[in-house]
Structures are given as C-alpha cells and as structure tokens.
C-alpha cells in the first residue's frame, strides 16, 4: 500500500479489495445499501484528502466507514429512545426493580 493509493484509480482498486470487509461492517451496523453510499462517499473523501502522506489507506478507509456506521447507529438509537419516551407505556424503571417485583409475587 502506498500513498499513491489515495488517488482515484488506485482507491477504486482498494474498494474492490475491501468489498467483503465493508459489507460485513455495513451488516454489523444494520446499514442498508442506500445508507451505505453516503457513508462510503465521505470515507473515500477523507482518504483522498488526508492520506497523501500516509501509507495507511485501507486502515483509514475502514476506520472512517466504521465511524460513519457508528454515527448512524447512534442516530437510530436516539430516535428509538425518543419514540419510547413519547410513548405513555414507557417504563422508566430499571430492569433490576422489575425483577424484584416479580420475586415478591406469590407463586
């Protein structure tokens, strides 16, 4: 891997090589193909701009994609928790308290 890999043509080859690892990352974070495009776009730009002096093109690309996926997961989590908070049935108790309640009930 050389800094030259950050150029367009070489980077396309890096993308091809990393295809299965990228797919595994997207699946692990529940990122759909539609959502994956802007994440990968941004990661590629980061490599193109910041890897001209670094040989770590693959590593930087994978780290940038993982950051993008993690940001999407955080957003999903925020929305899901907000939806739960809006819901009247939302339990604000902790799981531990619930378990104690169960134990106190007669068989």
């Amino acid at each position: 891997m050389t800094p030259g890999d950050a150029r367009g043509g070489d980077l396309a080859e890096v993308l091809r090589r990393l295809g299965s690892r990228l797919e595994a990352l997207f699946r692990r974070f529940g990122v759909s193909p539609e959502e994956a495009v802007p994440i990968l776009d941004e990661a590629v730009l980061e490599v193109q701009l910041r890897c001209s002096r670094q040989p770590d093109v693959e590593g930087r690309l994978l780290r940038a994609v993982e950051r993008g996926c993690a940001a999407l997961l955080a957003e999903r989590r925020r929305k899901a928790l907000a939806a739960l908070a809006e819901s009247p049935e939302t339990s604000e108790t902790t799981g531990e308290e619930d378990r104690e309640d169960h134990e106190r009930r007669p068989p």
Partner: protein, 452 residues
C-alpha cells in the same frame, strides 16, 4: 432458542415494557438486525409488533446477498471524478502558491479571502507541507504559511469537504502554528495555539493519525519546558496510536523524539537503543531528512557515550544522506557532529577546523543560537588544550557577534560571564560545559537565568 437469538421470556418482557430503556433498545436492536427473531414477533403478540414499529418506524433490515455490490461500484465511479478534481487541485497548487509568494504577506491573505481561485484544498495542503519543511529554519515565515493555510481552509465548502475533515485540517494548521511559535520561543502563545488545535481536533474525524500527529508536536513543547515525564508519556501515547494504525515510519519518528528526551535526561544508553529501534522503522524514501536526522543523532550519541570509533564509522553514511537531502543546515549539523567526534578521537586540528566552519556557517545562515553553542564547543577545545589566547579571542568575538543575533539577553549574560572568566584566566572546561548545558535548557525559555 440458541444464545444467538432472543429467549421468549425476554421478548415477552420487552413487549410488556418491563425492561429499562437501555435494555429495550438493545433487544429492539437485536430484532432490527435479526430476521428470524423478528419473524417471532406475531407469536409474542400485537404489542410486540407495535413496539418494534414505534422504535424503528417500521423499518426492517433485510439485505439480500450481493446487494452491496452496487454500493462500491457507485462510489468507485464517483471517486474517479473527485479523485481527478483533487489531483488537479494538487497539481495547480504550486502555481497558485508561486503567485501568492510574489505578494506581500498582507496581500496574500486578501487574495485568498477574495478570489475563489485560491480557495482550494490542494493549496491549503501545499502550504502546510511547506510550513513543515521550513519551520526549523524560518519559523516566522512557516507560521505565516500555516496562517494562510488556515485562511484557505476557512473558505473551503463544508458541504463538499465535510465539517469533520475541515476541523482536522484546522487542528493541524493550529498545531503547526503552535510549533512555529515554540521554535521561535514565544512560549505563552504556544499554549493558546495548542488549545485551539485541541478544540478543532475534538470536532474532527477522530482518526488516530490526527491525534498522534498533534501529540507528537505537543511532546516537543513539553520537552522544551523540560517536563520530561509528561513529554515521554505524550510521545508513548503517540507511538501507541501509530502502532494501532500500523504506520511504522511515524512510530520511528516518535522514537527519535523520545531518544532526544532521553539524551536530555542523560540516559544515553536508552537514547541509543531507541534510535536503533527507530532505524528499522524509518522509511528513508518517504522522508530522507528524518533518516539523516536519525543517523546524525546516532553518531553523535555514540560519540558522547564513549564510542567515537563506532560513531566515525557511521559518518560516511550520514555524509551520503546529507548530500542527498541537499539542505545546507543539515550539512552544517553533520559538520558539527564531525567536529565533536573528532574531538573525542583527539584529532584536535580536524575538530577545530570543523567547529569553526560550523560556527561561521550558522552565523551566515542567521542562526545565532546554534553558532553560540558551537562556539562553546570550540572554547572547551581551546581550554582543554591550554590555548588560552585563542580562547580569549573567541570569547571577545562571541559577545560582539551574538549581541546582534537571535541570542536572548539571559544567554548573552551567561556568555559574558564566560568571557570575563577567560579574561581573568579563571575559566575552566567545567564552566564552559555548565554554560553549554544552560544554553540548551534556555533555548526555548528566554526567561531562564544562568546560575553559576
């Protein structure tokens, strides 16, 4: 169910909202990713399906095999275009910089602010590279370059480059400004610049390379302040980060810095071992000057550690590297090392000639402080060989010449003490060494006083 899937009881408790918010999300997230568990929701009941839909707006993660093939294809197609645009920016940057360089500094910033031609990532990158190249020889000019790079970066389109990436570049520019200020001993403003760099870094991409690069510069600042423990801890963290990213060359660069700290602390053996470790990591093609610095330092430290013969053997390679880099200052540093090694080999006339040429070279280049340090090596040689007349002449010249250079007041006062001692025939080699050690410590700390 196997441990990869959710238990019925967990699902029931989740659907009945008997879990904490955190656990509710974790179970929901498992359902989001796991189609077999999701398929069991109707068995649990309508409240389970309703809860899932509420949490994920009805979205179900199902991606058939091969669905991501189109992603890499689409991005690869686009990057051919953006890659060409970035390459074009990089190739036109030298012309843009040549145009700006011909203008007075104040006008350069105006041009960058008002003309979109200069508002390119390629130009910002070139300015930062140029800043790094010249900062040890001309820190004031290097700082102007970093400031100009910052002006360019502020005008880059956030929608194209992304705010996190732009923050990385701003953090880098501010860290370079801090380093230039450190080199020209403006200590108070160094901290301010590093604080701004930290703020941008915190809002950057978070890539370990960016953090490691910032830490490397901070470690040099801590070293100048003689806060060696902090400096070593900082450099160790940078080495760890570069190890994470697999960048051996940068690990080598950090090891060279750490070796310099060890030498400052008089741990010469450790410094030599660190340089030997660095030697296997440095990529001489990537940065020939770093390889030269490593070999030059290794020769110097070996000489200081009582192995001048081994040090002399290394000099041949150092000379070859110095010719390759073509930097006059690097050659002067090599000549200085040659002079010091010759002294240890008791080749006094060779040492004297090398040290005199080095001192004159530094004076010609306007680097008075290094010239003063070389003059002290020369004074030590004269006193050791009982050539008091030459020591007197040198001392008189030192004060005259250095008063008009970049040698600060406290350092001049220390040199004056030496001159008076030589005049009274009371100077000793120990006093010269004491003043030399003081000058090293006070280099970036003009407020530090010499206390005999």
């Amino acid at each position: 169910m196997s441990e990869d899937h959710l238990e019925d009881e967990t699902l029931s408790r989740w659907a009945a909202r008997k879990l904490s918010s955190e656990e509710t999300f974790e179970v929901g997230w498992h359902l989001f990713l796991c189609a077999p568990c999701r398929a069991r929701l109707p068995e649990i009941g309508p409240e389970a399906e309703a809860l899932y839909d509420k949490m994920f707006a009805g979205h179900r993660f199902t991606v058939p095999p091969g669905a991501y093939d189109g992603v890499t294809r689409a991005v690869a197609e686009k990057l051919r275009r953006t890659g060409l645009a970035i390459e074009r920016e990089r190739s036109t940057a030298p012309t843009l910089w040549a145009e700006l360089e011909g203008q007075p500094p104040g006008r350069r910033a105006l041009l960058v602010e008002n003309s979109s031609r200069f508002q390119t990532y390629g130009l910002a990158e070139l300015l930062l590279t140029e800043c790094r190249r010249i900062w040890s020889e001309d820190p004031a000019r290097a700082e102007e370059l970093a400031e100009l790079a910052l002006a360019v970066t502020y005008r880059l389109d956030r929608r194209i480059h992304g705010p996190a990436l732009l923050n990385d570049i701003k953090a880098e520019a501010w860290a370079y400004i801090a380093n230039c200020r450190r080199i020209r001993s403006d200590l108070r403003s160094v901290s301010e610049a590093f604080e701004i760099a930290d703020e941008f870094h915190a809002r950057g991409t978070g890539d370990p390379n960016e953090e490691a690069s910032l830490l490397g510069l901070k470690a040099s600042y801590l070293r100048d302040q003689r806060r060696f423990e902090d400096a070593v801890a900082t450099i160790d963290r940078a080495i760890e980060l570069y190890r994470e990213t697999g960048d051996e060359h940068q690990q080598g660069r950090m090891l060279i810095k750490k070796a310099m700290m060890c030498r400052d602390m008089n741990h010469l053996e450790e410094a030599i071992a660190l340089l030997q470790q660095a030697a296997s990591r440095i990529d001489g093609e990537r940065e020939p000057r770093v390889l030269l610095c490593l070999k030059n330092n290794l020769a110097l430290y070996l000489g200081e550690a009582g192995n001048p013969l081994e040090a002399r053997k290394m000099l041949r390679e150092v000379r070859r590297l110095a010719v390759q880099t073509g930097m006059p200052i690097e050659r002067l540093r090599l000549l200085w090392t040659e002079g010091l090694i010759s002294r240890r080999l008791r080749q006094d006339s060779v040492a004297e000639a090398a040290l005199k040429r080095t001192m004159d070279g530094f004076l010609e280049a306007g680097i008075g402080y290094d010239a003063a340090l070389v003059a002290l090596d020369l004074a030590e040689l004269y006193l050791e060989t009982e050539r008091y007349g030459e020591a007197r002449d040198l001392a008189a010249r030192m004060i005259r010449v250095f008063a008009s250079r970049d040698v600060h007041r406290e350092a001049l006062a220390a040199l004056a003490i030496l001159q008076q001692s030589i005049e009274r025939d009371a100077a000793t080699v120990a006093l010269v060494q004491q003043i030399a050690r003081y000058l090293q410590r006070a280099r970036r700390n003009p407020a530090l006083r010499f206390e005999p």
